[in-house]
């Protein structure tokens, strides 16, 4: 499973950091960082929530 974020779309709403804090972090510079690009299966549910709740549709889960 691979996380892909379209940084042209991302506006740092940060809802993904609430859904899956293990994978997403917004740092003090205001930008989103991906902490694990290939997270384990145990996080799939949280990642799907992040995809669904992203207001700009910037997140994709591949595989």
């Amino acid at each position: 499973m691979k996380i892909v974020v379209d940084f042209d779309l991302c506006q740092s709403h940060g809802l993904c950091t609430q859904a899956a804090p293990e994978v997403f972090e917004i740092r003090d510079d205001g930008f989103l960082y991906i902490l694990k690009e290939e997270p384990g299966e145990d996080l799939r549910g949280k990642l799907e929530t992040a995809v669904r709740e992203c207001p700009t549709g910037a997140i994709k889960v591949e595989g």
């Binding site: 506006q11 740092s12 709403h13 740092r27 003090d28 205001g30 709740e53 207001p55």
Partner: protein, 399 residues
Amino acid sequence: MRRIVVVGASLAGLRAVEALRREGYEGALTLVGEEPRAPYDRPPLSKQVLRGEWGEDRLDLRRGAGLEELELDARLGVLATGLDGRAREVQLADGSRLPYDGLLIATGARARRLPLGEGLSGVHLVRTLEDATALRDALVAGPRVCVIGAGFIGLEVAASCRALGLSVTAIEGLPLPLVNKLGVPMAAAVADLHRAEGVDLRCGVTVAAIEGDGRVERVRLSDGTAIDADLVVMGVGVAPNVEWLRGSGIELDDGVLCDARCATALPDVVAAGDVARWPNALFDETMRVEHWTHAVEQANAAVQRLLRGAEATEPFAPAPYFWSDQYDVKIQFAGRAREGDELQVIEGSVEARKLVALYGREGRVTGVLTWNRPPKLIAYRRQIAQGLSWADAVSSASS
């Protein structure tokens, strides 16, 4: 359940059918929508679409995945006209009847229209894609714009028009824009922001007439002032789409009245999104919320309630989140601000266009507002939902 009907095919309705399939519901599923097109995203309408930056291809809420894999019967372009709660049947404008075991109401809201300037060309609303593209096309001629109502839509339209170099007057009946959402000091900051960007913002005054000969020529205010304008945008709020539910047994009160778990007065009928009013235990208040994230979250909660029943479902008690992009400021807010709340700016300033402010009531933090500080917003949102105390928040912020 073998037959579930979702009425309303915008964000809440779409996220509901997605949730139903994700949760393993395998029965028949029907999605009814008044608009003829596939579900699309509305927030860009007042911004990227209006400024001509995005075409409609960018608005697809399914990101190209289509509705097919959801294996549903999509009835798009058909208005729901009635609900027979006893017979468990939804009636559609084309005469068809949809029997259901479970029903999710997500018919949303429509833009209100003032009964002014009727018959004049140049009066616009911004709710649907058609509204937004018609306005975008009309802005190309470089009109003098008058925005009536300085709420989210009005302010975003004003900002987009300024980005296009247009002259903009905005009229707001309240003493300050968004004062009921942000409280006095921060609403004043929003007013200052728009004035600094060249909007002629007039607050505490209402519109008496929209005048012109065939097309808009001026807006007449209640104090007699005339504002010359070629185009008017009404951003005066929305009305929930509930007319089709009259006499159905559903309780209506500025929306569909639900319990703490999004269930209506009828068995196996739930509601979500702009149309739903429910008691939010986090704020001890019955509310109807018109924000994007809320539609997604409540659709999910309503689906849980529908599939699992009240016993197995937690009450829906979020700290509502909204954002608004105006000029170079990303405004984000989570929670609830009410008159008389404590307010403390714990970081940054209005002048810097970068700030974090907390709202508090009865010893608890009830809201967080940020300008261009996204990292802080979500962290506070989570803590507000957990009952963060005002004293702890303020002391840890100043340390």
